[in-house]
């Protein structure tokens, strides 16, 4: 096998090894990556900034642990920003492995800001079949969720006394790693005209740009980069702190960046090998 053919057909174990080394080194030796804040992330941030004390923001959390590296940081940053601005949160989960994700975030952040369940936030819990649940919540939150996650009837929660359906929340943020985002767009926005923004994984991001242009969603936080942009904005305004280790996406960006560089280098090497061996053979 010639040198150029070897460049084309590197053993995959070399690829794995180099990626592993790069990830470990970057994790040990951190550095800052300059960030360009995209308008779609800025608009979500600005919207939360525009909310007044007592306003209600709904967050639909539809992801499981496999997507937490990308989506958990945005969930933490938005929750901290909202609580610091005294915005009330209404949370629900439409992914079977997501209830623990919400519980993890809300139990930690509510303690940080002394927020009380039932007064400052309500966690509705999980219900299967996203499309049906979203449609039902548009009529009345009590149809799919007669009780909250902890088993308390919704009517006995102070915050829920003034809330019936989407008309009573300022906007919905859907943080998702699956197809439920389409249902939120189709039903919550399409049928009930709820103001909607989304936070999705990196691979899903390109799917949702058409909805951004058609204004069916007013903002889009895409993957770890989007989460890092959000953290950057929140840190700048003092909602989260570098010292408290609250910038997990921002701190992970160097790892993602170096890994991308290595992947690009591998692609370039493969293509050089391909063209040179083709030239040699012809």
């Amino acid at each position: 096998m010639s040198f150029y053919e070897q460049m084309m057909n590197l053993d995959r174990r070399w690829v794995y090894l180099i990626i592993g080394i790069v990830v470990v080194i970057t994790a040990i030796v951190p550095f800052d990556v300059p960030l360009y804040v995209t308008p779609e992330v800025q608009s979500v941030y600005d919207f939360v900034e525009s909310l007044n004390s007592g306003d209600i923001l709904m967050i639909g959390v539809d992801y499981a642990p496999e997507a937490m590296a990308e989506l958990h940081p945005m969930m933490y940053a938005i929750t901290r920003q909202a609580f610091k601005r005294d915005v009330k949160l209404l949370l629900c989960c439409l992914h079977q492995n997501g209830p623990g994700m919400v519980e993890q975030v809300i139990s930690q952040v509510s303690k940080e800001y002394n927020k009380v369940n039932g007064m400052d936030y309500v966690y509705l819990g999980y219900k299967p079949y996203p499309a049906i649940t979203i449609l039902a919540m548009g009529q009345n939150f009590r149809i799919p969720f007669p009780e909250d996650y902890y088993g308390t009837p919704l009517d006995s929660l102070t915050m829920m006394r003034s809330i019936t359906n989407y008309d009573n929340v300022r906007a919905i943020l859907n943080i998702s790693a699956g197809s439920s985002t389409e249902y939120w767009i189709n039903y919550a926005n399409g049928r009930y005209n709820a103001l909607l923004a989304i936070g999705v994984t990196g691979v899903m991001t390109s799917d949702y740009y058409p909805f951004l242009q058609s204004r069916q969603i007013f903002g889009l936080i895409g993957g770890m980069k989007g989460a890092a942009e959000y953290e950057y904005l929140a840190e700048k305004d003092g909602y989260i702190s570098k010292k408290k280790d609250q910038l997990s996406a921002y701190k992970s960006m160097p790892i993602q960046t170096t890994t991308h560089v290595v992947v690009i280098l591998f692609i370039v090497i493969g293509n050089i090998g391909y063209f040179m061996s083709k030239k040699k053979n012809s």
Binding site: L10, R12, V15, Y16, I19, G20, V23, V33, P34, Y36, T38, A64, P65, E66, A67, M68, A69, N97, P99, G100, E103, Q104, S107, K127, P128, Y129, I132, T133, L135, A136, Q139, N140, I143, P144, Y150, G151, R191, T205, S206, D207, Y209, P210, Q213, K225, M253, Q256, T257, T259, H260, V261, V262, V263, I264, F266, I267, I269, G270, N271, Y274, F275
Partner: protein, 208 residues
């Protein structure tokens, strides 16, 4: 009767759901809310059916000692254990610090995170092998992928140019293709729904 009754239910409910969307009357709202309740109840039964199906399939695998039957044993143990700790003692099992949540946080989350971390290695290897500029279309795909990947990389003064290019790819060609795709999906779904409501498509009733 076995065919007519399900067809009548599907057609009746289908047309009602279609019509109620355009009729803003309270009676329709009440029936609509009632039907949403029904769908959730039916969905819960479907979940039980799935649980039953998973249990039986795993038991059969273990009984027949088919290849990989050991995984089915682990699946059954996990299922039974999480059911017990999840149901006992009622809602308290769902709060932070409960056995259910401890297993979720310290076993399930690391397993899932590990599984998806491995993807980085597979994707790197797949990208290295697949992204070859063999044809014009493959070259366009390769160049687009490189521009999108490079938007995460600080390139100094070139960063703003690359950001503009990446943004252009996402908001113009990508959006045009996605929009065509979504419109196609929407039309396809409408056609399928109409076929089901009109009785042209009856595979949901089984083979006969």
């Amino acid at each position: 009767m076995r065919k007519t009754l399900p067809f009548a239910i599907v057609t009746g409910v289908g047309f009602f759901m279609l019509v109620q969307y355009f009729v803003p009357r309270e009676e329709f709202e009440i029936i609509y809310e009632w039907s949403l309740d029904w769908i959730i109840v039916i969905g819960c039964f479907a979940m039980l059916l799935g649980l039953w199906s998973l249990t039986m399939a795993s038991i059969h695998k273990v009984q027949r000692k088919t290849p990989g039957w050991g995984y089915s044993v682990i699946a059954l143990i996990g299922l039974i254990f999480m059911l017990i700790v999840g149901l006992y003692p009622g809602q308290a099992s769902l709060v932070k610090g409960s056995i259910f949540m401890l297993f979720f946080e310290y076993i399930y989350i690391p397993i899932q995170a590990t599984m998806f971390s491995l993807l980085a290695f597979y994707i790197a290897s797949a990208a290295y092998r697949a992204f070859r500029a063999r044809t014009i279309l493959a070259t366009i795909l390769l160049v687009s992928a490189l521009i999108i990947m490079l938007r995460l990389v600080p390139l100094g003064p070139l960063s703003s140019v690359n950001q503009w290019l990446a943004n252009f790819i996402l908001t113009v060609p990508n959006m045009a293709a996605k929009r065509a795709f979504w419109i196609g999906v929407g039309l396809g779904a409408t056609a399928t729904a109409l076929k089901i409501m009109l009785g042209i498509e009856r595979t949901y009733m089984g083979r006969d």
